[in-house]
């Protein structure tokens, strides 16, 4: 089915009114992911923007129309390991077991349990919505914050200039776990995202699946609320956020033959507004190098 | 209650052999327990442990301070100061050695010393210098405290027939080499 028809016909399983910012990339992705997954799903959403936005419920109400749990910030993958193993045991492998976690819960304190669950090949789909920082607590840096990014804990001052370290690149790390399925996705490329979530769910019936979603944050990143898709699109078109997938060891990369300069993206975002042309050139170099590596990996 | 202390080295199967003794006693309807001394066991390093045998439930959960029997898995351990510590007068010492009793560094104390070349028997029976099952045979004979038939069975179950044969060899060859002097 055409992806637009699929979304049009699928029930929105998220509460109609949730407390995510105007133009939130994560809210958009959560709704679309669950439309693909359907009601036969158990979701874990660790502390972060989406949990904070009320989708794990408030007092006695649910924020979703499906079962959902807020695990600890650092145990989403291991908690769901227990859930999925019980469902295999109960002979209900049809139930989709999905995590929807931010980058902090994924790449920082949740990294160990994620890596452990991936190594064990637990039958679940782990989705990271990466907004490059701890946005729910006011944009502190995370390990996926991009180099140069201004955050509340890597401020721009007289002697410091935003985040000085490179980003931890989760998708490749997860690919190196040799799991069933790894992909990156962007809300700007919605057909691609719908396809990948579909594949990820299928893969989670056989083993561990991981999808890393680029999730623009107008509040933290400093762009207009209506620019969310544009920011995501420019991230893809500049190779700042390359789209690829690894399906049972088979690599597939969306290669932009004529990428736009990364400055086209950075200029949209206040978190990069302090960068000098030299800084931007450095980021361009990082982006080009990573793309080269991905090309080599997917050429093999 | 009978209290026995084991002295050996990591890799000699001290703990395993003591557990076999406990199994043997328990199967015979009596009570026994073994607490290994909790060091960091490394092959070759000295290890020891505490065995108790009784005809009623053993309540204490602490080390043995006044052993009636010492199981010495290696005559090089005789030089260690802790080996004879607290041994009761007229206690029994069972030593794995190929030396004569005169050449062993024994303290001046009234005791019964049994000698067995357990390592030699092990090498002969199963080509490994692990004296533990032969030491069990020597213990059975020297003390008479365990059911010899059950013990052989337990050794066979835990290891194999060669180990049981090693125990039998030791049972038949253990020598009382020194008794009740001083």
């Amino acid at each position: 089915m055409n992806y637009i028809d699929l979304i049009r016909q699928s029930e929105d399983l998220v509460t109609a009114g949730m407390s995510a910012c105007q133009g939130c990339g994560a809210e958009l992705c959560l709704r679309r992911v669950l439309q693909v997954a359907g009601r036969n799903t158990i979701l874990s959403i660790p502390p972060g923007c989406m949990a904070g936005a009320g989708v794990v419920g408030w007092n006695f109400d649910n924020g979703l129309k499906i079962p959902v749990h807020i695990p600890l910030l650092d145990n989403t993958a291991s908690f769901l390991s227990g859930v999925t193993n019980m469902y295999q045991r109960k002979n209900r492998p049809d139930v989709n077991i999905i995590a929807f976690a931010g980058d902090g819960a994924t790449a920082d304190c949740g990294f160990q349990s994620l890596s452990g669950a991936a190594e064990r090949g637990e039958k679940l789909l782990y989705i990271c919505y990466d907004n490059e920082g701890y946005m729910n607590t006011g944009f502190q840096r995370s390990s996926t914050s991009s180099k140069g990014s201004r955050t509340s804990t890597t401020p721009v001052g007289k002697v410091q200039d935003g985040k000085s370290q490179n980003q931890k690149y989760m998708p490749l790390i997860m690919a190196m776990h040799n799991v069933e399925y790894v992909a990156t996705a962007s809300p700007s490329n919605m057909k691609d995202m719908v396809d990948k979530v579909t594949k990820g769910i299928q893969a989670s019936k056989k083993g561990f699946a991981y999808i890393h979603i680029f999730s623009p944050c107008p509040t933290g990143w400093g762009h207009e609320t209506d620019q969310t898709i544009e920011v995501a699109r420019k991230a893809v078109k500049s190779n700042f956020f390359p789209l690829f997938e690894v399906e049972q060891g088979k690599w597939k990369l969306l290669d932009n033959k004529n990428p736009i300069p990364v400055s086209d993206l950075l200029n949209l975002l206040r978190k990069f507004s302090h960068l000098s042309p030299d800084d931007i050139a450095q980021i361009q170099e990082l982006v080009d190098k990573r793309m080269d590596l991905l090309r080599k990996l997917s050429a093999a | 209650m009978k209290e026995i202390r084991f002295h050996g080295r990591g890799g000699q199967g001290v703990v395993k052999s003591a557990q076999i003794l406990v199994e043997t006693v328990v199967e015979g309807g009596l009570y026994a327990h073994f607490i290994p001394f909790f060091g960091v066991e490394r092959k070759g390093s000295p290890v020891f442990g505490f065995l108790r045998i009784d005809d009623k439930e053993i309540r204490v959960k602490c080390q043995v301070y006044h052993p009636e029997v010492l199981m010495v898995f290696d005559d090089t351990l005789l030089n260690l100061p802790q080996t004879f510590l607290g041994l009761v007068d007229h206690g029994v010492v069972i030593i794995n050695t190929e030396k004569t009793v005169e050449s062993l560094p024994l303290p001046e104390k009234p005791m019964k010393v049994f000698s067995i070349n357990a390592t030699g028997i092990a090498l002969e029976r199963f080509k490994k210098p692990i004296p533990n099952t032969a030491m069990l045979g020597a213990f059975a004979k020297a003390t008479g405290w365990v059911n010899w038939q059950i013990l052989q069975e337990k050794i066979r179950l835990a290891f194999n027939n060669d180990n049981a044969l090693a125990a039998i060899d030791a049972y038949e060859n253990v020598q009382l080499v020194k008794q009740e002097e001083f």
Binding site: I4, G23, R31, D61, N62, I229 | -
Partner: protein, 87 residues
């Protein structure tokens, strides 16, 4: 024993915020320009745009936060943002 206060669970209903009151601008669909491509629905973060079985799309205002993504992403510029005013 009452099960109410054992494990905290939410099973009495769906928690819903009045996010419609967040808007300062609201999207208005100019149906004469609309090609019913559905992209506005695809990109709407709050699920306020729905399409019927005839693939006709419509904006609902009850929960629309007024982010403006639909207006910006509409390929035919068929959605405009207009200032909310007190009725």
């Amino acid at each position: 024993m009452s099960k109410k206060f054992i494990t905290p669970v939410g099973d009495e209903g769906i928690y819903t915020l009045d996010t419609g009151s967040w808007r300062t601008f609201k999207p208005v669909m100019l149906k004469e320009k609309c090609t019913n491509c559905g992209l506005c629905m695809i990109f709407c973060p709050v699920g306020s745009i729905t399409g019927d079985e005839n693939k006709i799309y419509e904006i609902g205002y009850q929960y629309c936060k007024g982010c403006g993504i639909c207006a910006r992403e509409c390929p035919t510029k068929a959605i405009i943002m207009v200032r909310e005013s007190i009725e």
